[in-house]
Amino acid sequence: MKRIRICEEHCIGCGLCEVHCVVQHSRSRNIIRAFREERDGIVPGVKVERDGHLSFALQCRHCEDAPCIEACMTGAMHRDPETGAVLCDTERCVGCWMCIMACPAGAVQRGASGKVASKCDLCIGEDVPVCVANCPNEALVLEDDGDD
């Protein structure tokens, strides 16, 4: 499956990945409208972690043995059979936050509504996730590990 490799040494901490993630997951898909009208309703699936001059952009690792799927009591957290991505079915999520507790990367967050989990979906429908496509320093790289 396709995986995003984080090149920590090239991350410049600009936060453009977060910006484009918000746009991609907005209704309008228009950067200005997304930030004007929908910003509060979207939690970006990628987060830039910063400490001094070090930074890296972290999103769900879509683990092979995903602890969040194990921990989910409703089956909302599941693996997409086609892409292999770990996705959250918000219709089934009850907001127990066991996925957040179980995630070793801290990549699952509470959604903006505060009721369901929110996470990276590897940009459904896009060949290249927008955080990868818009990183100005190629600190996020899309790799195909060959496994389906």
Binding site: C14, G15, E18, F35, H53, E138
Partner: protein, 503 residues
Amino acid sequence: MPEWLTQAEFVIERDPERCIQCKVCVRQCANEVHRFDAELGEVFSDSDKCVGCHRCVSLCPTNALSVRQVELDFRSNANWTPQAIRNIYKQAEQGGVLLTGMGNPEPLPVYWDRMLLNASQVTNPSIDPLREPMELLTYLGAKPTRLKYEGGDEPRLETELGPQLELQVPVMFSTMSYGSISYNASLALARAASEVGTYANTGEGGLHAGIRPFAKNMIVQVASGRFGVDADYLNAAAAVEIKIGQGAKPGIGGHLPGEKVTAEISATRMIPLGTDAISPAPHHDIYSIEDLRQLIYAIKETTRYRKPVGVKIAAVHHIAAIASGAVRAGADFVAIDGYRGGTGAAPTMIRNNVGIPIEFALAAVDARLREEGIRQDASLVVAGSFRCAADVVKAIALGADACYIGTGALVAMGCHLCQKCYTGRCNWGIATQDPYLTRRLNPNIAVRRLVNLLESWRHEIKEIMGGMGINAVESLRGNRDHLRGIGLTDRELNALGIQMAGE
């Protein structure tokens, strides 16, 4: 004392309709121009500190920012230009020498723009480089005056050739030290040179262990500070260059402030951590051509005569005599740096007012070496602002063997010529050692861009040569018949050794 007379050089315009308060500009400006006011939830800009590097403009995802140069902030006066007034205010407030970076930006004539190239029409056929072979291979080093063969069915060359540098394209990356530029930038230049088959130059920065694997595509420099020089360093590289002068600051030494001498730089330059790296203005063991000869031969001995040894000099008055002396002293190539050559830091007055144009220096040196019958003893490398493939072709037609590009290479890596290299706060991650800023230059991207640049110039040089009906760079070299001058006086045409357009 408040700097109340100094006014902002740039004004930042933020389109409130487009700004989404994403704070990318805040994070990207090392000069702290953009500031997020958490209470108001808004980003504000302080134009005073802006250096016009356009980092924020380039990264703004909504194109909400533009940076404009302030033009009408002084009463107009053709003599007292805003820059002249600003310089005086700055010096009156702070005292001291005005510092700057990059090459001479003054509106002085660029003679490349006053020379035009020839093309074939009717009487001689032009060549299509996509269909016919076109040779750009260039060898730098002393050439024999005549070749001796051993006859027979399979002739064998008897003459022993001196060491040569083999260039796939007659363009090399100019002298830029690790210290003046970041490790990532140095690494990118070395990697790109080895990918294309040309050379990068260490400058006086020593050879970092990480760059050593690319040393066969590096020219190492021996400058007046002798930083990082030992037998191992000299033997690791493809060639050695003795730096006498630099186009941006002829007659001036260098000074890398102690705060930039990090652990890595101190190891590479072989100097104590945190100490100023001072390169004296002259080499204190070179006060004559004879002294220069001693150093050249000391290096040749150390490298067992296996590496070409060159001399880099700044283009100044009597350059022809100086270059001739360098060749007679045993230089295998002479690099001449014109007055538009770049620098990481130089006194503004020196950069803007000392030296001569590379066009005249090259024409004079090539002519002089030919007159004296020693042109074959050394190759000529020219530097000092080669902006495009046409500049390179014109230089070769005027007599150069190859060109050095420094600023052009930096621009390819993202430099926006803000001329603030000396502050160490390069927002593009090039002329800085700040670990927060150096990350901004991903060497993989930089290598790709540098290789693209040289590849495109290679194609363009071939196209231009093809149009002239020339199929090898050897036939173009010193072929001034293919140059014509426009808007030049008789004396300028004579000095350049070219005819006027229409002749």
